[in-house]
Symmetry: C2
Subunit: 337 residues, 2 copies
Amino acid sequence: MKSSPSTGYVTADDVATAAGVSRWTVNRAFKKDASISAAARAKVLLAAETLGYVPDLRAASLASDHSNLVAILIDDFANPHKLVMLERLTRVLRGRGWDMMLVNTLDRDDAEPALMNARRRRVDATILIGIQFDDEVLEAAHKAQHFKKLIIFARSSENKDTISISVDDRAATLEIAEYVRDRGYKTPFYLAGPRTNSAHLSRKETFLDFWAKEFGVTCDSVAVPAYDSILAADIISETLSNKPENERPDIIVCENDALALGAIDAIRHRLGLRVPDDIAVIGFDDVPQCESPNYRLTTYRQPLMDMANYLVDVLESAENSQLDKTFIGRLVVRESA
Amino acid sequence: MKSSPSTGYVTADDVATAAGVSRWTVNRAFKKDASISAAARAKVLLAAETLGYVPDLRAASLASDHSNLVAILIDDFANPHKLVMLERLTRVLRGRGWDMMLVNTLDRDDAEPALMNARRRRVDATILIGIQFDDEVLEAAHKAQHFKKLIIFARSSENKDTISISVDDRAATLEIAEYVRDRGYKTPFYLAGPRTNSAHLSRKETFLDFWAKEFGVTCDSVAVPAYDSILAADIISETLSNKPENERPDIIVCENDALALGAIDAIRHRLGLRVPDDIAVIGFDDVPQCESPNYRLTTYRQPLMDMANYLVDVLESAENSQLDKTFIGRLVVRESA
DNA sequence: TTGTAGGCGTTATCAT
DNA sequence: ATGATAACGCCTACAA
């Protein structure tokens, strides 16, 4: 038991002295399940309060080898859905006692250094959200095999060393496709996002397959190199501006809302047409803007709260394989399609 | 020097044994400025690579009492500008070797627990971004005086125990006001955000003062209880829908873009009027959507990269007072006003 | 219920 | 340039 430390922080020892107990009793006072008398706890908590003591989580983590800290690696801040995901994730994690580090994976070459960084902090899990964590990056990451848990959130992955928590893309896309068919649209156009090296069947492929089987026609599509509304607007207006009216699609099915919002802008302000009367639009994600009177976008909402809660279940699980899970969301019908 | 540890992590000792040097030499190999021979460093780095060793930052922090980790407390995820700020902040911090914890301050009562949490992690600085950190909360927080650095980002504050990094609201608002005057608008209407207990002069007050002095008239205003576009649209349409044409404002000046985008939606889709012909709109922040062909919002852009870089300067400074700084941004003129 | 050793993986500081 | 000692503040496991 020593007296005041050099660092300026109050330690358990200081509180112990003040409360007239041992340092270990002090620590017990801060644990829920600890076996400690109510009197002792009260005494300790009072002393801690007056001294301004709070336990040091670095030391706790070092000694116990779990930190209740996760790293979230994210790219693609242009997509407004990321803000929604961050809100849900931080809310649920914090509500259940977890902290998170947010890492901006600046570009694809930065993915590995970013993963390395998470390892240095000895986080309990590393969560990947974004488009640049393709199979190749994952392979390289897991070569070293030094992640307690590597979780891919809101994106499916067949990678074996990884836990994937995502919406069932196939089911979702089929629900969208059926809606498009049932509403009588005949000539859909698919607006896809950046191509990745991921092995799984993309939303676009699922949709095109469905349409081909249903009607025996291949519908057109184009890819936008980023999930960016402005870019999507540019590409849609380029693609459609010189098409005669009878070759025009009657609906644009978009891989996500970022693209869909751009598509609506282009249809109205570049092509001078109406949504949905001339061309309908359908999105994916249900970002807040979808509800704006300007867009009223029909879209597919992922059950993000459920997914985030399941993520914490995974964090708190002793297992770290066989934990993949897909979720079913729902189509939110508004006026855009 | 012990052999393989129980935790599964490779330690500096393991590398030391493998490389035939001492543990301290291993650590030196990972420091830029360390005095170590090139040969020794190469030997160590090779051994580390094959063993998969990376330094443990928890232990480093515990021993050195600085973590290169900051906590960012943020609320108001409805405002799309938050995503931009997060992008810039994470980019600059990471580029300069800092990690950040992101904490969602769920509501006002959660501010104190959230601050406590940052203390438990012994972060080098706590950064506050949001509206709920008013003077009262700051007071309570600093009563305990246990923050190495408490920084208010993108918001001015007169609190003495706090470092405020923000745009010069007064200069910005005056620039906007002069623009409004010079373009010949006569009857501006101010759309404000939630009222806070902050002591400083708000943008709204600055604008109203200017207009009163310039023309001797008080312009109308209304407050939206959250920085939320949908809500802003509702309130604008309520407020203006039953005004006769001659009492209608010719421009709506908004405290930020979230409100401004909602105002535009309301003007078009609820009031059936045109922007800017019937009513012009001006915002603040320059969120990405401003550039959309649908909005083309005239707005004021904060120099976020400069501000973020200055934030890191502050983190790396030995001082922790007299560090307040305000920045000057610029008006970005588009077609909405 | 309460106290005690020993260890977690670094760094500061001093010694060689 | 390299090695060694003593923290850093807590937790696990066990003893009293």
